[in-house]
Symmetry: C2
Subunit: 256 residues, 2 copies
């Protein structure tokens, strides 16, 4: 039974895709077999691994709406141990189409139940909304990882997010836990970052990962080359931070 | 007949709320009467003007779903000439509820049609999705302003956005135009910013505003004080940029 995470936060631009892509890549290089699922119609995570959306015929849309077996939409990446179940913009249509399919909240859970391939981890990149696609992701995983950008608006949405997790626990997935909170885009030069980090630790306590992801332009450059940071610039501060986060997630205590 | 804009981009965290709040504030101080509508359930724009969501009994949700007259949900801000039609998290429920109301795409347009107050400008802050709430905003305005963050993923979503605008023109609002593209969070130290700015100008040509909004931490600090930048730090680079943008929007050619 694979360990499964959804990377979720309805606030936009907080580092969900960057965290999903880079955590998945480091876990793969540590020898874990990874399935990354892109349930965001923007398909940034697919692009972040160099998947060409124009060439994709079958994607998560076909799995959720037409019942295509997940295996038939999964693509290999250039990274050993790392497969992607990609999305394309047509997934945006699934939001409305899912409303009239019963049961609409567990389509993804059912699709993953029948997966034959033995993955160690399944990681799902979510869109910036608490919509049916995100609910499908929350219904299909054991834990969530919540990136929080070190800025003011990012704090505002936390109570909405924890409320949604509560609703999902009551109706869909009683075991859903918070695996951890990742502070992202931390800028050591600004008081704002320090204040938000402090507030977040007050709210979530030990749930906040020790590793803090700094603002680092190399992380923003890597997607334009279709590569995770470990291949684009393994010596950068961004790469070191995501490597540390990976060690923390693995729980082997080697986080520096 | 007021001039109306929707500030829209389904990519998250690109500066939609920051642009809406600060453009509205400068237009108001230039003497224009402004109605800012917050159609994002995150209600960041409401918070950006110091609106206390806990104290709000009636919001855009009541207008869209229960047919409450817009005037009854509009609140005054501490800024003369600037009113806000706020949202609260319960607006997130409207996405699903709107699906079963006919006509579901023009609820906002109808609500604004009956407005008695003579506003010069109506500006709508949209959520990071191309959902029914965003479609309602696109159906209710004459023009859109599109903030584009100077980063790679922001470019990826442009074709999806222009495709959605096309669909809205065909079915809901034939006159919908692009008022302009605003380049945001431009960091003069990175090649990435320059590359994205160049690509965006290639794609949109003269539609890109001359004014480029720089990355400026004062813009990120201002919301925690419930103030637009003109009051929080009028001497900052962020304030100067939004003042220039306002002049460009007013079309008086004084943009420096
Ligand atoms: N630590 C970082 N330092 C610098 N830039 C970053 C960092 N993390 C992410 N970015 C950049 O910030 C932008 C937003 O990040 P990303 O797209 O991962 O957020 P997201 O939460 O997935 O956004 P959305 O809500 O649209 O899905 C991207 O351009 C990304 O490259
Ligand atoms: N020019 C800028 N310089 C520095 N920080 C900025 C700038 N513009 C916006 N920000 C900050 O970046 C974050 C994202 O901006 P904002 O919330 O306005 O984007 P958005 O597109 O409205 O996000 P969402 O997609 O969640 O609605 C916020 O924390 C904001 O304060
Ligand atoms: Mg993303
Ligand atoms: Mg916003």
């Amino acid at each position: 039974m694979p360990v499964s995470f959804a990377v979720v936060n309805q606030k936009g631009g907080v580092g969900k895709t960057t965290t999903t892509v880079n955590l998945a890549a480091y876990l793969a290089t540590f020898g874990k077999k990874i399935l990354l699922i892109d349930i965001d119609p923007q398909s940034n995570a697919s692009v972040g691994f160099g998947v060409d959306r124009q060439k994709i015929e079958r994607c998560l849309y076909n799995v959720l709406i037409e019942g295509l077996p997940a295996e038939e939409a999964i693509v290999k990446t250039s990274i050993a141990n790392l497969d992607v179940l990609p999305s394309t913009p047509k997934l945006a249509g699934a939001e409305v189409e899912l409303v009239s399919i019963e049961p609409r909240e567990t389509r993804l859970k059912q699709a993953l139940y029948n997966l034959k391939e033995p993955y160690d981890y399944i990681i799902i990149d979510c869109p910036p909304s608490l919509s049916l696609l995100t609910v499908n992701a929350l219904g299909a995983v054991q834990e969530v990882i919540i990136p929080i950008q070190c800025e003011y608006y990012a704090l505002e949405g936390i109570s909405q997010l924890t409320h949604t997790l509560e609703l999902v626990r009551e109706s869909l997935n009683p075991e859903l836990k918070i695996r951890g909170i990742v502070l992202t885009m931390y800028d050591h030069r600004t008081i704002l970052s320090a204040q938000v980090a402090e507030e977040t630790r007050k709210y979530f306590g030990p749930k906040v990962f020790q590793t803090v992801i700094p603002r680092n332009v190399r992380l923003a450059e890597a997607p334009s080359f279709g590569q995770p940071i470990i291949f684009y610039d393994p010596g950068s501060k961004g790469a070191a931070a995501y490597e540390n986060l990976c060690r923390e997630v693995l729980g082997d205590g080697h986080a520096q």
